[in-house]
Symmetry: C2
Subunit: 327 residues, 2 copies
């Protein structure tokens, strides 16, 4: 195991978030913080929305991907990167790689949504199709690493990715008065773990809540059992939150004492509709879950100042009729 | 005819726009100007979007309504206002009236969308239902005026409304370098006529284009014939643009020499989808028509710096499946 690989197995710390912030500054947007007074009135608290749906490539994922790309030394950069993701991480890594002229390989399962694959290709990445199984995906990634020397950038366990995701909360905490609580969605746990680093260092009095779909609630189960639950079948419209909580992510979140709030899909769709109507912003279900958590746990947040990371806005318009029919 | 009524029959001038800007400043938002580089690339020109979908009550209509409300003398204000509109003007007038504690009566046709009526009532206006004919509507308005002394605020022919709508373009022209062209939607012509005032006074070298649905293209017909066409049956999804171009609006637009661009509904839906996907902003079809005009008349705008007024974002989520099914 060489130094780079070793460093990739260590848990990131807050200094890594600060370094990431400096590293991605020339490339990532400092996204605005939005307010919506009529939603405050409904929620019974003061909400500040960190608008990562306005981030490049439409999601916070660009932060972590960009940090990973610009952390590579020149020799590694020349060999390129590889990942497996047909969603926001794939697009984010492709765009981040383009900012440095790095070759990017994205392994995608047969049957992935054509529009999403087109976006990844439009950012200049090379697609590699594989059978829709974890085994096939890992085998194809390993093959590509062996053939090209490309480095794997995992969507949420990579410490460079976690540190990069922490910069969203860092900006939020730097920019305003004290927050009583911060709410972020949790899936694999990259955003959640990165946010935990920023909260602990910059605003330890701020309670961190993780919003999780009831149909993929293995983070809550893991926290309760005190060990990571990996056997579950996700059933949720939140396509960005179906992944299994990563091992480093679990360790970091457990250490932080973050609390998990479960949210039913119907409440997520209602929150998404509400935000579309009142704030005129397109957010995806995997983002709306955090607002839904606040709206459905009123007592927890009553009268408080609450930050919400709106993680992304990549909704396929073709899915809207079905989405809203469920609302 | 008293002085107030007389002044309401005169065409507004640019000084009225300046006065409106000062009058509404404590109440209306100075909306941001948005950019979307990937849409620039598609359009082949540089687009600056004046984000009136982020205006209070979700549309530019609040500007004109607010100007009308705060133009009333105290005696008139005590008697209240009345209008007929189940759409954005009704909601805007209701909210504007609330900013001054003025009674607001809104005449709405039987069968109007329940969600829109609920919004008007939520802003504190009193709804008055009537049969869905122009005769019934005008009769009910006249009745209410007689009973209460309330003053009529017409959605687009009222000169206070026209002057107020002109403040959106005024902000856009004040805030940036020279625009080669400005594109706004046209229905009744309140926004179009107000914009013409601001363009003529502040940036006479800027070409003004009016985007009109092909299924309600009476503005184009009126401009061609040199007289106002009032006999037509609108057939368009752009519910804010089905009204007949007003007489003062026609006179002002003819005098200005604004050009009309017709847009098919299918192109409007495609533009709306594009803006939702790339800019993550919810805009209604009656707004998207202006972007669609630019995308479908590429040669007209190639290489130019173009301002677009995004007029509103009030889409009923229940209509989304049908809207996108047409796209």
């Amino acid at each position: 195991m060489n130094d780079t690989a070793q460093s990739r197995t260590a848990l990131p710390v807050f200094d890594d978030v600060l370094a990431a912030a400096a590293r991605i500054a020339p490339h990532a947007h400092v996204t605005p913080v939005l307010r919506a007074h009529s939603i405050d009135a409904l929620a019974g608290c003061e909400l500040h929305f960190k608008a990562e749906h306005l981030q490049r490539a439409g999601a916070f994922k660009f932060r972590g991907a960009c940090n990973a790309i610009w952390s590579l030394d020149d020799a590694d950069a020349a060999r390129g990167v590889v990942t497996h993701s047909s969603g926001n991480h794939g697009a984010a890594l492709a765009l981040a790689a383009r900012t440095r002229g790095v070759a990017c390989h994205v392994v995608v399962p047969e049957g992935a949504v054509a529009a999403k694959l087109a976006a990844i290709e439009a950012y200049g990445a090379t697609l590699h199709r594989c059978a829709p199984t974890i085994a096939a995906r890992e085998e194809r990634c390993a093959q590509l690493q062996a053939q090209t020397g490309a480095e794997l950038v995992h969507p949420y366990t990579d410490p460079r990715v976690i540190a990069g995701q922490g910069t969203a909360a860092l900006e939020l905490l730097n920019g305003a008065a004290h927050f009583d609580a911060l709410v972020v969605p949790v899936g694999g746990g990259g955003l959640a773990a990165g946010t935990a680093l920023s909260v602990a260092a910059r605003s330890p009095g701020t309670a961190l809540y993780l919003a999780e779909p009831s149909g993929a609630a293995e983070t809550a189960a893991s926290m309760q059992r005190g060990e990571r639950v990996t056997e579950f079948t996700p059933d949720t419209i939140c396509d960005g939150l179906r992944g299994t909580l990563g091992a480093p992510n679990f360790a970091m979140l457990q250490g932080h004492g973050a609390q998990v709030l479960a949210v039913d899909d119907a409440d997520t769709v209602a929150a998404m509709r509400l935000f579309w109507q009142r704030a005129k912003q397109v957010i995806e279900p995997s983002s709306a879950v955090a607002l839904a958590a606040v709206l459905t746990h009123r007592d927890t947040f009553a009268g408080k100042r609450v930050g919400i990371v709106l993680s992304g806005g990549n909704v396929d318009p073709d899915t809207l009729p079905a989405l809203f029919a469920r609302g």
